[in-house]
Amino acid sequence: MALLQTENLLAFYGDFQALFGVDITLAEAEIIAIIGANGSGKTTLMRSISGLLGNFSNMVRFGTIPIGDWSADKIMGLGVAMVPEGRKLFPSLSVEENLLIGTYGRKTNGYWKLDTVFELFPILRERRNNPSTTLSGGQQQMVAIGRALMSNPRVLLCDEISLGLAPIVVKDIYKAVPAIKAAGASLIIVEQDIGQAMAVADRVYCMMEGRVTLSGTPNNLSRAEIHNAYFGAVA
């Protein structure tokens, strides 16, 4: 039984269709990566799973529970936490307050607490009382991930972690992924940085124009296949 899965998932913005029947599955303690060009529907998929975008109830399933039409706050309560695209920290909250607000809808006494998050991202401990706006892009990304971890989610959705970050910073952040997986979370990583995504994922889905065009394990997918699935027409 998959931990989380989508079945023939459709999504619309008004009369514009963004997803044309997407099926993905996430098993317990697994990391899947979803790659694709801008506008291929990756973020729409994440918004549908997290409840920001309403769908038909059985299009998204958490274990046996159909959650397609649940609101975001209810889905979060189940243990599906999201690191939104563009980080979306709360400007009027300090770093520590941004982390604490992550537990608002789901109180747990699991592994992740303030201390363990500060161990994962030591730089945040000294900046804990600063307003989040004074942090660099990479540090803000760490707070966004920490905020999602604070609710000890069973599924962690990461939307474009590498957005606007220098490659060395992205590598630094991805170093935390094994620790997150070890603490019991399964991850869905949406990524533009294909190399980084392939390095950590157990399975990869490639999306183009609202459809899954390719899926498999990283080592049995050739670069040419990915290039086509990513760009469609050859330049």
Partner: protein
């Protein structure tokens, strides 16, 4: 030189979104701008259109300093733009969208702009939809309307922001043909785009942007071949 940016920079708190950008665009050129998400491409546009004010540096359009000019003044000066997410006047018809742009952008009466607007609609294949409320258009039609409305102000410089995004291959090819016609009329074009094949088949020069800096500028062939672009853009270890 129709447009030149001199050491333009902009930052929000610790986040620099434009870092000492210097760029010169000669009359009539078609320049493409690429770079990963969050590289500062839209910021660059907003600095040129006046929606964002540069912290330092200056921007010249046709030789005069527009660094502090408002979006409206820059439009009247000849800078036309399309939005990344189409922003039509939803409760007005397609034709009325163009009339607003033409009468205000060129400061003329409705009668004077009637034929020009109809002609633009024909060129962008929206003539059949002229009397439809813009709110009911499909994504491709909304993008065509963005383009037509910008054209209605008869700009000398046209800024296109990911106008090919989310379109199918066929739709994209048709749109490129329309943009090519506009360019042939002597309109300078700066085009931000992710759909690489759309850009490389049209633009004369390509600029690569990352972390708010212009990394390199060159012909499409040079840029696409360069190791650097492959690595930061596609992320594949080359």
């Amino acid at each position: 030189m129709i447009l030149s940016l001199k050491n333009v920079s902009k930052s929000f708190g610790a986040l620099t979104v434009a870092d000492d950008v210097t760029l010169d665009v000669p009359h009539g050129q078609a320049l493409g701008v690429i770079g990963p998400n969050g590289a500062g491409k839209s910021t660059l546009f907003n600095l040129i259109t006046g929606n964002m004010r540069a912290d330092h540096g200056s921007i010249y359009f046709e030789g005069c300093d527009v660094t502090t000019a408002s979006p409206m003044e820059r439009c009247l000066a000849g800078i036309g733009r399309s939005f990344q997410i189409p922003q039509p006047f939803e409760k007005l018809t397609v034709f009325e969208n163009l009339v607003v742009a033409a009468t205000n952008g060129r400061n003329l009466t409705e009668a004077a702009v009637l034929d020009d607007c109809a002609e633009i609609l024909q060129r962008t294949e929206l003539l059949g939809r002229a009397n439809i409320l813009a709110g009911r258009l499909s994504l491709l039609e909304r993008k065509r309307l963005e383009l037509s409305r910008a054209m209605a102000t008869q700009p000398k410089l046209l800024l296109l922001d990911e106008i090919a995004g989310g379109l199918t291959e066929g739709e994209c090819k048709a749109l490129i043909q329309t943009i090519r016609d506009i360019h042939l009329q002597g309109v300078t074009i700066i085009w931000i785009e992710h759909v690489l094949y759309a850009l490389t088949s049209f633009v004369e020069q390509l600029a690569v942007l990352n972390f708010g800096k212009i990394i390199s500028v060159g012909s499409p062939e040079q840029i696409m071949a360069s190791k650097e672009v492959q690595e930061i853009y596609l992320g594949i270890e080359v």
